[in-house]
Symmetry: D2
Subunit: 140 residues, 4 copies
């Protein structure tokens, strides 16, 4: 399993006047976790800058279950769900350890895109070979 856990503390700029974290802010937390996850696959931010090969989000699904609040310490669990030919899926869960609340569940599909042409590329053969259990059943 390819997975990581990252942590965040809720800042003022994450909240809105409803008194809770704004729905868009969670996607920053998810991006940070996803970045650590793709590092585990051998793609670091610095490497991407050189190769100009970027993982690009092609779909996001996110369910808002409970809201986080100012000052909350939260955990973002991320793992790779599956590899397909030209994209891969990641899953995320955001929890608040202090009360064991499940706040967010989310999944994203990503494609590898060669910039600046914007050309989608096949996933590296090594990913598929190294994690056969993640490649067998491509998901729509």
């Amino acid at each position: 399993m390819i997975n990581i856990i990252s942590e965040e503390e809720i800042m003022f700029f994450d909240t809105d006047c409803g008194g809770v974290v704004h729905n868009i802010a969670y996607l920053r937390f998810i991006e940070t976790a996803r970045t650590r996850l793709t590092e585990r696959l051998g793609m670091s931010l610095k490497e991407m800058t050189k190769t100009q090969l970027f993982p690009v989000v092609t779909r996001t699904e996110i369910d808002y279950r409970k809201p986080a609040k100012l000052g909350d310490l939260i955990q973002v669990e991320a793992h790779v769900e599956s590899f397909e030919r030209v994209r891969f899926w990641c899953q995320f869960r955001i929890t608040r350890p202090s009360d064991h609340a499940l706040l967010i569940t989310s999944r994203q599909s990503l494609a590898l895109v060669q910039m600046p042409q914007g050309r989608p590329c096949r996933l590296p053969k090594e990913w598929l070979e190294q994690y056969p259990e993640l490649t067998s059943k491509p998901k729509a």
Copy 2:
């Protein structure tokens, strides 16, 4: 049909170093369109501030089809897809009129939540009565 169209021009702060609009930025455009849409249902931002009854996003699905770039003029089409008992669904399409490109499709479900208690409320009877064609088939 309850629908609106809003327009945006892509600013630097909407883009990232991949050279295109960052995936999170589109959700601001969608929120702006959704705000105009809920105004059409009789819920203005100023009204919400008084009543503390807020439409809260409970799920987002978003597909990234083509990227927008710096300086692009884009249109966000929004309409109400359906009303259920305690939530409603909205649909969004973001297009770039200059080349007729379809950039983004998205749908969101929203619940009406009474703050600061965070209590979910039934949708107003008037919504369901005024738009019976949107209320017949509740969607999971």
Copy 3:
């Protein structure tokens, strides 16, 4: 005088849990106004994309006088304060017409930078020639 006025409506994502607009959000409003202002100088976003010559903020000063709130309609007045050899200054005022409140005053200096090298360039001669009243007294 080189000036423009742009308008914004305060969205949820502009606010924080203090109940007012977050201090960082005003800088997006200012960037949007500044973009319209530099268009007036002949530098459109689309043009910049081609030339890769970008106006880069080198200093921001911003005073927060009164807070805006959810749903407020605000105006951003922007004008060029002065031209120097390699940078120019812009001034901004954000007001709320409904009660004539002055919310924000700000000034920014910008340099023209040729990317991707990051090389600062002299301001176009035409700017200095066309607006001699703005070029006489360079400011620290």
Copy 4:
């Protein structure tokens, strides 16, 4: 001296299509550092939520010296510059340890504001008493 150092890694959402960190993103880094700094003064985010007494930015000055890039690890040094009767000043330096570059210098003044009334409050007597060296020379 009341000071802290926080660390950040530059994510995609921090950058813009100029290829470097967007000027607004640094203000999030500064807010995170400032939050840790005010915790050192006894004001935690959780405490603020209860008391509704918030430190509100009344002025920001920020100089952009060198740009950070995707994947950079940066450090934000923050310290309290001085206490006045109803506001205090903080100073910030953002550096990139890998090449010892100084990227950003900034200072902010903050007032303590009792929400929801928006009433400015005097700084706690303990702050002034505990740090007499920071209180002697109020700055305009």
